[in-house]
Symmetry: C2
Subunit: 343 residues, 2 copies
Amino acid sequence: MSELVRDIGEFALIDRLAKRLHPPAIDVIAGIGDDVAVIAFGGFRDAGCPYLLATCDVQVAGVHFLPGRITPYQLGCKVAAINLSDIAAMGGRPRHFLVSLAMPPDTPVAYLEALYDGLSEEARRHGADVVGGNMSRASSLTIDLTLLGEVMPDHLLRRSGAQAGDLLLVTGALGTSAAGLALVIDPELKATAEDRERCLQAHLTPTPRLAESAVIVREGGATAMIDISDGLMADLGHICEASGTGAELWEEAIPLLDATRRVAEAAGTDPLQWALSGGEDYELLFTARPDRAETLARNVTDSTGTPVTIIGAIRPPSDGHRLRHRDGSQLPLHAAGWDHFAR
Amino acid sequence: MSELVRDIGEFALIDRLAKRLHPPAIDVIAGIGDDVAVIAFGGFRDAGCPYLLATCDVQVAGVHFLPGRITPYQLGCKVAAINLSDIAAMGGRPRHFLVSLAMPPDTPVAYLEALYDGLSEEARRHGADVVGGNMSRASSLTIDLTLLGEVMPDHLLRRSGAQAGDLLLVTGALGTSAAGLALVIDPELKATAEDRERCLQAHLTPTPRLAESAVIVREGGATAMIDISDGLMADLGHICEASGTGAELWEEAIPLLDATRRVAEAAGTDPLQWALSGGEDYELLFTARPDRAETLARNVTDSTGTPVTIIGAIRPPSDGHRLRHRDGSQLPLHAAGWDHFAR
């Protein structure tokens, strides 16, 4: 009979709903289609005036997290980090959180206090604060954060700036969060204490790459950026769609921790699949002019200690999306990342 | 054993959680404690630069609305209006919405499209647009809106500016939304078609008082303002608490529609109780210097057609809160407005 959300999936739904909207005002630099809205707040006054950034993300108990498997303090850190990562992806600085909290009336106050401690601490670590919010009742704990930030107009990086020939770079390692999730779901999975801690930390308390983002925009040469929340394939797909390009990934270049490989082996999974479609790594995926990419990668690492790896290249749209193996063989990439409504 | 949210209630919970937070940055003019955060975005540049306003409000199916008793188009209008009303209460202009939508996967796409139509239309009516958002899965439809707005620094009205001697004013009529809610809950309640439509409209598609707010701040003389979402008693309590004052309400002056009186009679309820603690009227409650109040009220009505009534006075804190009857008798007012976690 009537079409349901699960029939069309998250991204088609966003497209369908965006079409219903009236066009935004002239001061909206980026609206629906980026993770973060960009606004010339107060009008286009002068070049020294930052743009306003605004993003929101909701986390629902039982959907995005299992309350028994993450402490409320960790949960507070994580919900903050998810939004902070979106601001990092635009080249911006986070400033102010609004917290909308809906919960069952039998939620312990101490649980919420610990959640707020994590949230407030993670915000402070990155120069942000909490300035308001809203409390309400719901059947499941639901945490919806709005984060306001700022970015200088010449530092703004969007999904849409990539060009064929640009190289593709990523901070840190991929698939670690998926390995952590595997350990959350099956605590009996064999892993050393160190591997377990490393992977759980990536999943439960990811680090938003704000310091790395600041170096990237200061150095220049980057052309597009996104944070990896849906998975490498899906988020690369977002860049290619917005930029009108194809892309290739170099299989052997994709950075994986040894800890991730060992947990994958224990779980009987291919760790590359975790890197490609696991999601929630909150690393920065960005493109750069080929003559600037290596220097840029080195400068980010020198300033922050975070490794940066060149993992592929942007191609003309006719090339599609592919995964290239060292021996020359190629596979088409399917954007099989996270869809909130997929079966 | 451990203290639960329902044991301490919404307002004590907000206080408890606010205490956990690090102090906000210097550019935060108003943070937790007002309905809307006020930020000197981009720093204190010049007097011609507006402050940024940011507010959020969540509506959960089964808690805030009954999906079968409000059309999705009406629901879209209402969730927008609730946030628009908060911006009106600060003397501001609404600008940009972010929409965070969480829903079961079996939600019909057409339902969400109609919801977006209402939201977009209500936003456009008041000069705002939708610039971003977020989709997710949840067991109940949950709509969390963030609204950004702006206010010129000399137009900003907060809860905290009332002084003993100021008069208390309200736009429109009170209790109409509660009458509408009574009709939603019991559709068999006897009422004329006209009364029914009037009260349902107030409850299902309230009108944010932005035009009235614009006249109030332009004319000057107002000292504090809030919108009536929790009920007259509770919201007057918020003004008094923030301003450090007492207050008296003049029973016979409280504006009630005849439609509300007739529906209350059919329901066997005192319509004054609906006006005092029904909530969701989204009228503006404001205070003004006694020598300015009458002119201000007249100018708002002349410009907008909306009646404005003087319903009481701000008193010294030692006078507490009371309801004064024409015959001179007085009753203490209990702030028995809406608490999201009350039994």
